[in-house]
């Protein structure tokens, strides 16, 4: 479990950085404070010394006693080829704080990481899950200078065969590999041929990536969802989630993108067939997950399989519930006031603010995939991803820290600017 952030030089370098992180070694836990040191204060950021790596791990101080560190939380898991040994010295703020730590690999093996066309990369990773699992995900970088796009195509698989091309891999999810014009819609991540900031949350089950291009936060997820079922009932809940359905879309201002907590696909020849998120069903088919289709600044709601609370499944309006005897709700006071479901994208008619009190609690709402057709069913949660209201003093890259618990990083959803278009990712 690792929270890693940094900067890549471009869309291809980002691919290399994600592979390095997924297959590398990072700080997994701080097991004890070996020495509290002196001169520290809560919120100090301490950098771990020693070891060999490309990114040094950091912790934030969560509690002190007379200037001595008594509690820390991982702030940056770092990336090492050789981890430092205990007790690990630190730098920053006070002096003398040393930590006993656990470093381990992040749980993924690169089955394929090669250039397939010029410098463009194709990657297939195998996640270990609980140690007995094999979770196959991948992506291919591609670009067009005339088209001004520098993107990733995201895919999931059910296995890996080294003798097959990526599009030929077993159980491959929908995407550009279909080749025929007008049927290339899938799960894509718009990037850039310039500097890209990133934040990654990696577990052996899934990789969550937020790529920062200018002032936009393009996001994606590859790996297993948190199923509402046992492993035997839903053995391979593979999730492939991007934030754009058209392969030739750009990260510029030409189109609105929306991922993870509110996936939108794009209208038009290259985007409207499917995407930008898929979950593999128990019957082996890929279920398209989307909340809307966007055309310019107008969206058309989708309800077949959505991510709530930003999406609205079929049954959420009385008139749409079938059979009628499953109808529960009234429509006079709906969530739709906070997250407008109307065609015009714009201001909400009600704002959800942090709960009042001396603590001012900002709520994290699970991002849950709900299927309406053909069977009404709550399929799964997006692991460690939450919808969050942007009203109140909340902005991109802010952190929500639970006293004694985890921290969550807030991002606006891609290049959207509405206050209800934010997500939070748990820093693990």
């Amino acid at each position: 479990m690792s929270w890693i952030f940094g900067t890549s030089t471009d869309w291809i370098d980002l691919s290399n950085d994600v592979v390095a992180a997924a297959t590398g070694t990072s700080l997994q836990s701080v097991d004890s404070i070996a020495a509290g040191g002196t001169g520290y204060a809560v919120d100090n950021i301490l950098t771990l010394s020693g070891g060999t790596g490309t990114i040094s791990a950091q912790v934030e101080v969560t509690s002190v006693s007379a200037g001595a560190v008594t509690g820390v939380r991982i702030y940056q898991a770092g990336l090492y080829s050789a981890a430092p040994g205990d007790p690990v010295a630190t730098t920053g703020a006070g002096s003398g704080c040393t930590l006993n730590c656990t470093f381990a690999t992040n749980g993924w093996t690169a089955e394929r990481n090669t250039a397939y066309s010029g410098s463009e990369r194709e990657v297939i990773l195998n996640g270990s899950g609980d140690g007995g699992d094999e979770i196959f995900i991948g992506w291919r970088t591609y670009s067009s200078v005339p088209g001004d796009y520098y993107n990733w195509e995201l895919n999931g698989f059910t296995g890996f065969d080294s003798g097959l091309t990526t599009p030929q891999q077993p159980g491959v999810s929908p995407g550009k590999w279909n080749a025929a014009s007008g049927f290339r819609a899938g799960a894509y991540l718009p990037l850039d041929n310039a500097s890209i900031g990133y934040a990654m949350s990696i577990t052996p089950y899934r990789i969550i990536l937020v790529a920062i291009v200018g002032s936009s936060y393009f996001n994606a997820i590859l790996g297993w969802a948190n199923r509402y079922a046992t492993e035997g009932e839903f053995p391979y809940p593979l999730l492939v989630g991007g934030c754009m359905s058209e392969f030739n879309g750009t990260s510029g201002s030409s189109g609105l993108r929306s991922g993870l907590v509110d996936p939108w696909r794009t209208a038009g020849t290259e985007g409207q067939d499917r995407g930008p998120m898929f979950i593999r069903s128990t019957d082996g088919t890929w279920i398209e997950v989307r909340n809307a289709q966007i055309s310019g600044s107008t969206k058309t709601e989708s309800r077949t399989c959505v991510v709530i609370p930003a999406g609205r499944p079929d049954g959420s309006i009385n008139g749409a519930v079938s059979p009628q005897n499953d109808r529960f709700t009234l429509v006079d006071a709906s969530w739709g006031e906070v997250i407008p479901l109307t065609a015009a994208i714009g201001a909400s008619t009600a704002n959800l603010q942090p709960t009042p009190g001396t603590l001012n609690r900002t709520l994290l709402f699970p991002a849950t995939i709900v299927l309406s057709t053909p069977a009404k069913q709550i399929l799964a949660d997006l692991p460690d991803v939450f919808w969050i209201s942007g009203f109140g003093a909340i902005g991109s890259e802010d952190r929500i820290r639970i006293p004694g618990g985890a921290a969550y990083r807030v991002f606006q959803n891609c290049n959207r600017t509405e206050n209800y278009a934010y997500l939070a990712v748990k820093e693990i």
């Binding site: 609205r312 109808r327 969530w335 009600a350 704002n351 009042p356 001012n360 609690r361 709550i378």
Partner: protein
């Protein structure tokens, strides 16, 4: 015992058994006057005060009151800071109440309470397969705002357009969204944004004007419950999964709506403890759901039935109550 079931011969007998149960499980009786047909109780050591009143001559309705204290010798609606939703007159034909549409005997009652006496939730099987719900408790709050004590009744409209429609806004139940005061649930709140210092009450589910309490102080609007949108709006209706028959037990939220701002501002206040919304497609009334170490009992809102024949029915809408034994 934090759960009890039994039978009651009348409303008065039900109240008597209710009194015995809750005073043994974390609540204190302030007054129970069976000759005057009312009683007041409070959470021991807490701020949750509530009263019940019934009619000796036509005992089909049980009026529900909430206050912030108790004064000896005063009628329920005259208790300190009365929330203003209970009737002031007998017979009980208006205000927040439970309309049993029966004088009894009642087929069964179910009292639910937790170990720390944070709530008492009551389910009454009035006659075979027909139910009523009422209760009192403390919201499981988000944050540390002041208040959270709630009271709710159950008024099922007997009109031909309402009696067989659980989505009708003239039916009131739980911490739920109905159409107008004064029949709805109340919750004590203080110091919220847009609330005057004198205000004490949120009317939960008031889509329109929340009105004033007994003393004339303005109440504020809340929403939520099973029918008021938000989380239940999305998933409460979902029946058992075709994959594995899992079914969501949907928490019952309460949201404060500050109408003094434009647009309105919503604040998520918390959820009702140990009670959830459930689709009863695959359940019968009184069925037990076991989730890990927890046990829940499910009941229809009024009757599990979909005939639309002008009799009480609530289709597949149900509540689940955590049964602590």
């Amino acid at each position: 015992m934090p759960y009890e079931t039994g039978t009651a011969t009348s409303i008065e007998d039900l109240v008597s058994k209710f009194d015995t149960f809750i005073t043994a499980n974390g609540f204190t009786r302030d007054e129970l006057d069976l000759s005057a047909n009312y009683g007041t109780w409070h959470e021991t050591g807490g701020t949750l005060y509530f009263s019940l009143r019934w009619d000796a001559t036509a005992q089909t309705d049980l009026a529900i009151y909430q206050s912030t204290g108790w004064t000896s010798g005063q009628a329920p609606h005259q208790q300190p800071d009365d929330s203003g939703v209970g009737t002031t007159a007998i017979p009980i034909a208006s205000g927040r109440r439970v309309n049993f549409v029966s004088v009894g005997p009642f087929t069964a009652y179910h009292f639910f309470i937790n170990a720390t006496g944070d709530y008492v939730h009551v389910v009454v099987e009035v006659d075979a397969g027909r139910y009523r719900h009422f209760g009192f408790g403390k919201l499981t709050k988000v944050g540390d705002w002041t208040g959270g004590d709630y009271a709710y009744g159950h008024l099922w409209d007997q009109g031909v357009a309402q009696i067989d429609d659980p989505t009708n806004i003239s039916n009131y139940l739980g911490l739920d969204a109905g159409a107008s005061t004064p029949n709805q649930a109340t919750m004590q709140v203080q110091g919220l944004p847009g609330v005057s210092a004198a205000s004490r009450w949120m009317v939960v589910g008031a889509a329109n004007t929340p009105g004033t309490d007994r003393a004339g102080n303005v109440r504020v609007s809340g929403t939520g419950g099973a029918r008021g949108g938000l989380w239940p709006y999305y998933i409460a209706w979902i029946p058992s999964s075709a994959l594995n028959v899992y079914i969501p037990l949907t928490p019952i939220p309460v949201v404060y709506r500050d109408k003094t701002t434009t647009p309105h501002t919503w604040y998520w206040m918390g959820v009702q403890p140990d009670k959830a919304i459930v689709n009863m497609t695959n359940f019968n009334p009184g069925d037990v759901i076991t989730i890990g170490a927890d046990t829940w009992m499910v009941f229809p809102w009024v009757r599990k039935q979909f005939l639309q024949a002008n009799t009480e029915e609530s289709w597949n809408a149900g509540y689940a109550y955590k049964k602590i034994t």
